[in-house]
Symmetry: C2
Subunit: 407 residues, 2 copies
């Protein structure tokens, strides 16, 4: 598989997180010559928050995790396998998850309810539990880098995705490190993606859940590759508390301002890496919406543009066909005042007040379209709502990947 | 432009409709060597019903027509131009429509409010009224076949689309003939399409409007090519009354049963021709949904499958990757009971009761996928709602057409 032309130059330096241990293994289930299993072990006292796909056909591991979250047993481990999504596998699929978590619990000597699982890969095929189980002892004692973990969870990803940041809580430095996988079937809510983010900050579970929800809205729920929603999307955020920072009072505690910014940075970085690895992507597109009724209307308009095959193919063809953006605004189903719509591409004003500007010259827009980073700004003139959405273009590469490869 | 591999063998025989006169002309505005204007003249006493795009950025001619419909002045003519959509053209765009309709009204000596207009083509470019106006005298007196009219209204269409049917109302034979254009930017409601259907039946305007709304739901609103919604979709249904059938009492009059069936037949035929001309299409896909909460939920699930790039690319690749259908069901946002979902492709049962059937053998499904006509049946087990949706696959051809051509 060729590496995406939008890939970062290399894998970033990731700070280890005290209290969080990773390990990987190769099940041989689907891929050869690479690891496809990952275990994230969490020291006692670690808080964990998670968000999951909104699909009505959510996979067995997602259902398992949702039940565990509602039970409130502190999580001690998250098991991941790549290559089989264990989705639409009925009772057998849930039995496979239960067996996996029981096996990991036994190897780690913890409660079975303290083990979560995330799967990614083909939908509808039974998960061969035994192929995974034989690696549980090695996973339970092994140790791997964040980079190895990021590599093990890939499916159609052409590069491993990771990000790190630091922040200060009441004078104590804390670290945040995350990895993610995702390339196709990427749409809010959420992308076909798995995300594992950890921090050594001490943050109670309820506050952690609020911080994760907010950061997800601004990152993984603000990207789209192809408008398709996965059955398996899951993002986990673990806080080991090893940094020993002072207690925080709530998600809006001013002492958490730096942490929130760092968490946004890590999660947006991971989300943007997923777009950069969008199947067949040749351009990275940033869409800014302003003047919508509210932020949620702006989000909807941004996604209508980002998901429009005609907008995405025009960008792939480096064609300044901005009329398609107007078409997509019109189909978003958000209130817009056509006579106040403005469109700017690459900083060049194309349309204002509902029509093309009289002095419009396509030359600089055409030049911008030839670049790798495409910026679209749309104002709709009905309020103060804003949103920023990231996506990629729709190319022959997307067709090739998805017409030939069973993901 | 290569003709779609799914095109019908030839243009069908279309019955002329007494009271309806067509003419065509070449503006030279965008295309060379072909007509790109069409005028449909309606004899006095003709009733007209119309449905339009639901886009919030509807084009100037759509706005004009909506106002005319609400005024209730009997329509005497519909002017069409292909190549410029006159969409997002602000006040200048509305002035161009007004000038066109005034010009046609003057040539036909009728009220300006009796002239409708429909445009299709590039969005955002001012419409050069003068280029059209010089052909009004010729259009007002000319006469052309339905086939010539169907050819004149094309944009990216690779073949002209027409259909005819007959029915009997209280013992009197009536004819229905229609033409349409559309290929990309095809999604309910409605496709980037223009449709012109006429009958010599005598049917009052209010009843005609009800019949058109119902037939549109089962035809043009049941197809999708790429999920993009046009700014210009318009379908007109004219009834000249020349057949002289007995009066009908309402849309549900039993004497109209045959007419309703014939109207559905003509409009579904046109709708399916649009799918057959879907940009880059190589497979024609019929999706039947059953067991949904209601028909509207079934419709939504069918469209989620039909619009999924991953489903469409899998079919393009002749890959029996049915898990993507399950994914699409999950993202539809309609209530489904995962444990009762069933999936059948080409008549072969793949999944039942929320999991793959144990005896599943991919061989016959893979064979069906190699054909040109793909049949997908999905049952979701929550009620009695059904829907049938038609779409095409997503191929390299779609990317080529839309990345290179400014439509």
């Amino acid at each position: 598989m060729t590496i995406s032309p939008l890939a970062p130059e290399g894998f970033p330096e990731l700070a280890p997180i005290d209290g969080v241990t990773l390990s990987t293994a190769a099940s041989g289930m689907k891929y050869t010559g690479r690891d496809d299993m990952m275990l994230m072990r969490l020291d006692e006292g670690t808080a964990l928050a998670a968000v999951f796909t909104l699909s009505d056909t959510a996979a067995a591991p997602v259902k398992w995790c949702r039940e565990r979250v509602s039970e409130g047993i502190p999580t001690r481990a998250v098991l991941v396998n790549a290559g089989n999504a264990n989705a639409f596998t009925s009772i057998g699929g849930m039995e496979a998850v239960t067996s996996c978590c029981r096996g990991i619990a036994s190897a780690l000597r913890c409660d079975v309810g303290a083990v979560m699982m995330a799967s990614t890969g083909v939908i509808g095929e039974p998960l061969a539990y035994a192929d995974l189980a034989r690696h549980f002892p090695a996973l339970a004692s092994g140790q791997a880098s964040w980079q190895s973990a990021a590599e093990a969870i890939r499916t159609t990803d052409t590069f491993a995705k990771g990000a790190s940041a630091t922040a200060t809580i009441s004078g104590t430095e804390v670290k945040i490190t995350g990895i993610a996988k995702g390339s196709g079937m990427i749409a809010p809510n959420m992308a076909t993606m798995l995300g594992f983010v950890a921090t050594d900050a001490a943050i109670p579970q309820a506050i952690l859940a609020a911080l994760l929800a907010d950061a997800t809205r601004r990152s993984f729920n603000a990207i789209t590759v192809d408008s398709d929603t996965s059955t398996n999307d899951s993002v986990f955020l673990a806080a080991s508390g090893k940094a020993g920072n002072a207690q925080v009072s709530g998600p809006d505690d001013p002492e958490l301002a730096g942490f929130r910014a760092a968490l946004n940075e890590v999660m947006q970085d991971l989300a943007k890496q997923i777009v950069r690895d969008g199947e067949g992507a040749s351009k990275f597109i940033t869409i800014d919406i302003s003047g919508a009724t509210d932020d949620s209307a702006a989000h909807r308009i941004g996604l209508a543009i980002a998901n429009s095959p005609l907008v995405k193919t025009a960008i792939a063809g480096e064609d300044a066909n901005w009329g398609r953006i107007v078409m997509a605004i019109g189909k978003a189903g958000a209130a817009v005042d056509q006579s106040r719509i403005g469109v700017t591409i690459g900083g060049i004003r194309i349309a204002a007040d509902g029509a093309r500007v009289e002095t419009y010259d396509e030359t600089p827009v055409a030049a911008h379209m030839k670049g790798q980073m495409i910026d679209i700004d749309v104002s709709v003139g009905t309020g103060a709502g804003t949103a920023r959405i990231w996506t990629c273009d729709l190319t022959h590469g997307y067709i090739s990947v998805n017409a030939d490869y069973r993901s």
